[in-house]
């Protein structure tokens, strides 16, 4: 079991067994939580009332004032706490291109779980800008009100029963107004119909006929050109699908054959809508070869799954680096291939969709060997507009 307490050593130091017990970890925590000793270099006289209010017994702080060993220990712990406080950035930090849109932090802070929440949180703990954004959103959603906020909210006209009853009526009537809309539309139509004469009708019909013919001609030519573009895209998509299905079949076959594959692993995760775009890439494709694979990322996609076919077996720790057209690294991760992936000589990686703006991308795959990474393969793809 993991040690719960801080200090497992005896509360009596060597050669002091006959003396009173030293402060334990809980007592030191109480002291550190108090305002006792503002300067880390010196310890001021503690306020007994404050300490007893925090649960520190009188004997304990009497001991502390006598015991140099405990004083030294508390000072060390205090310095450590001051160092921990330095982990927090003390000025606003600029946003980087890897940062997700700022709106996501409100959703994360409000506890709205999405498939990509884990990725966002992992990013927030590494990125000071996003950490600050998340912290700010969390502050706005804190349940407790400050006394000042209590007063402000209590004094709002909207906090009165009158205002709220009026609003409730207004909200209810929103529904009624919606339900009455067909009737209102009917009245509008009848008033238009009343103003039409036979000559006006004939002129309107002729005008409408000309417009319809023009529109038909235009849409026909547009349809033909879009059909040709569509056909090219379809061919590409079909090729992509075939490769993708091959990989999925290999993956599923490997999972079924694996004795370790548990039913829990195979079961879909309840309540999570699939919002993953996928692509399968072969190594060695370059921009100049004109064979760049296209990956469309529809709006609302949270993750992109990229299956990389590997020339040799993907054993050991692999590092994947995603570079954009300017060769700037925008994502990297280290991962190990599963048994199924090793068998199918492929490796699936997941990348947050928000990183993939329309651009050309290059993936560098390397393998760890003796404290360094050797390049194994490169892949390229395009995210079209």
């Amino acid at each position: 079991m993991q040690a719960k307490g801080f200090c497992l050593q005896s509360r009596f130091r060597k050669g002091e067994a006959d003396l009173e017990p030293h402060l334990d970890a809980d007592q030191i925590d109480v002291l550190l939580r108090s305002a006792w000793g503002l300067n880390a270099e010196t310890l001021s006289e503690p306020d007994p009332f404050e300490l007893s209010g925090l649960g520190l017994h009188e004997d304990a702080h009497a001991h502390l004032m006598r015991c140099e060993s405990c004083q030294e220990r508390v000072l060390e712990q205090k310095k450590a706490m001051e160092r921990l406080a330095l982990l927090r950035p003390n000025a606003p930090v600029a946003r980087s291109p890897e940062c997700p849109p700022e709106d996501v932090w409100m959703e994360v802070a409000a506890g709205i779980a999405r498939r990509s929440s884990e990725i966002y949180l992992s990013h927030a703990v590494e990125c000071d800008h996003c950490g600050q954004m998340l912290s700010r959103a969390a502050e706005d959603f804190v349940e407790e009100l400050t006394p000042q906020e209590e007063v402000l909210i209590a004094n709002l006209p909207s906090s009165t029963l009158n205002w709220q009853t009026r609003l409730a009526n207004q909200l209810r009537s929103t529904r009624t107004a919606t339900a009455d809309r067909p009737h209102a539309i009917g009245v509008w139509f009848s008033s238009i119909a009343a103003s039409l004469t036979p000559s006006r009708l004939a002129f309107a019909a002729a005008l409408a006929g000309i417009m319809v013919l023009g529109l038909r001609d235009y849409s026909l030519s547009r349809h033909l050109s879009s059909q040709s573009l569509q056909a090219t895209a379809d061919v590409q998509l079909l090729e992509q699908d075939v490769l993708q299905q091959k990989a999925q079949i290999a993956d599923l076959t490997a999972k079924l054959n694996s004795p370790l594959a548990s039913s829990a692993q195979m079961a879909p995760r309840q309540g999570e809508e699939p919002s993953i775009a996928s692509v399968v890439l072969e190594s060695g494709l370059t921009r100049s070869a004109g064979e760049m694979k296209r990956l469309s990322v529809p709006a609302g996609t949270e993750l992109v799954r990229i299956t990389l076919h590997i020339p040799d077996s993907p054993g050991g720790v692999m590092r994947e680096e995603l570079l954009n057209f300017d060769r700037r690294k925008i994502w990297s991760q280290e991962l190990e291939a599963s048994a199924a992936e090793t068998k199918s000589r492929s490796l699936s990686i997941f990348i947050p969709a928000y990183l993939l703006k329309p651009d050309d991308y290059l993936i560098k795959l390397s393998r760890e060997s003796q404290d360094r990474f050797d390049e194994v393969a490169t892949y390229s793809f395009r995210v079209p507009r």
């Binding site: 801080f6 925590d29 950035p89 912290s135 909200l171």
Partner: protein, 230 residues
């Protein structure tokens, strides 16, 4: 007909959207007014205008947003857990407020607000900008903590616990705020207790490293990993 205060949020939303029941709407306003008001108030304060009129207008706007598209939000809402609507409403209120101020400021910016800057400006580097001594020192400290954490935190929940530590100390989130984040799965008390234990472990490691460094007879093989108190 009166609405019992124990009625679930799901049932309340259904009653509000399905019938023109005034009692259901009164209960809706009663339950969520404080939540909407505080979110609007705090967000508006960030934009520098938390006047009574503005806050009340935005509160009303938030309620009306709930009814938009023929109550689509109330009808289609997926209640993944009991508090999911509360979280959703907070985000909605904050977004309504932000959108309002963005639109106000963009109008202002467009109205001949640009002024030329006279004189020569030579901006000085910020104390904590990247590459400054302060930021380098902090980077070293972060790495040091990372290595302490790697030694202290083990087990199944290692990644989650490490994340909690950084969210608390680096991002500055409170234990209560951390407990509601997706994937944490702990109560506020649980987060507090975990942070306390991790802090003690890390403090202990820091203290031990210092005493090892201070000791002239210290042996490299007796580094942090051989600490007896863990």
């Amino acid at each position: 007909m009166d609405i019992p205060p124990t009625l679930s949020i799901k049932d309340l939303l259904r009653r509000c959207s399905a019938s023109g029941d005034i009692a259901a709407w009164q209960e809706f306003v009663r339950r969520f007014h404080r939540l909407i008001a505080r979110t609007v108030l705090r967000t508006a304060a960030r934009f520098g205008d938390s006047s009574t009129e503005t806050v009340d207008d935005l509160i009303q706007e938030t309620y009306l947003k709930c009814c938009a598209d023929n109550f689509r939000i109330l009808l289609d809402f997926e209640h993944r857990h009991p508090d999911s609507f509360v979280g959703y409403l907070q985000v909605l209120a904050a977004n309504v407020t932000r959108d309002h101020f963005k639109s106000v400021y963009s109008k202002k910016r467009g109205a001949d607000q640009v002024k030329s800057i006279s004189g020569v400006i030579s901006p000085s580097a910020k104390v904590d900008s990247a590459g400054s001594p302060g930021s380098i020192e902090r980077g070293v400290l972060i790495n040091e903590m990372r290595s302490h954490l790697d030694l202290c935190i083990v087990g199944r929940d290692r990644d989650r616990n490490r994340r909690i530590f950084w969210l608390y100390y680096r991002a500055g989130l409170s234990a209560a705020a951390i407990s509601v984040l997706p994937g944490i799965g702990l109560t506020t008390k649980g987060v507090e207790s975990l942070i306390l234990r991790m802090t003690r472990e890390v403090r202990g490691r820091m203290e031990m490293r210092k005493s090892t460094n201070d000791s002239p007879t210290s042996n490299a093989s007796e580094g942090i990993l051989s600490a007896k108190s863990f």
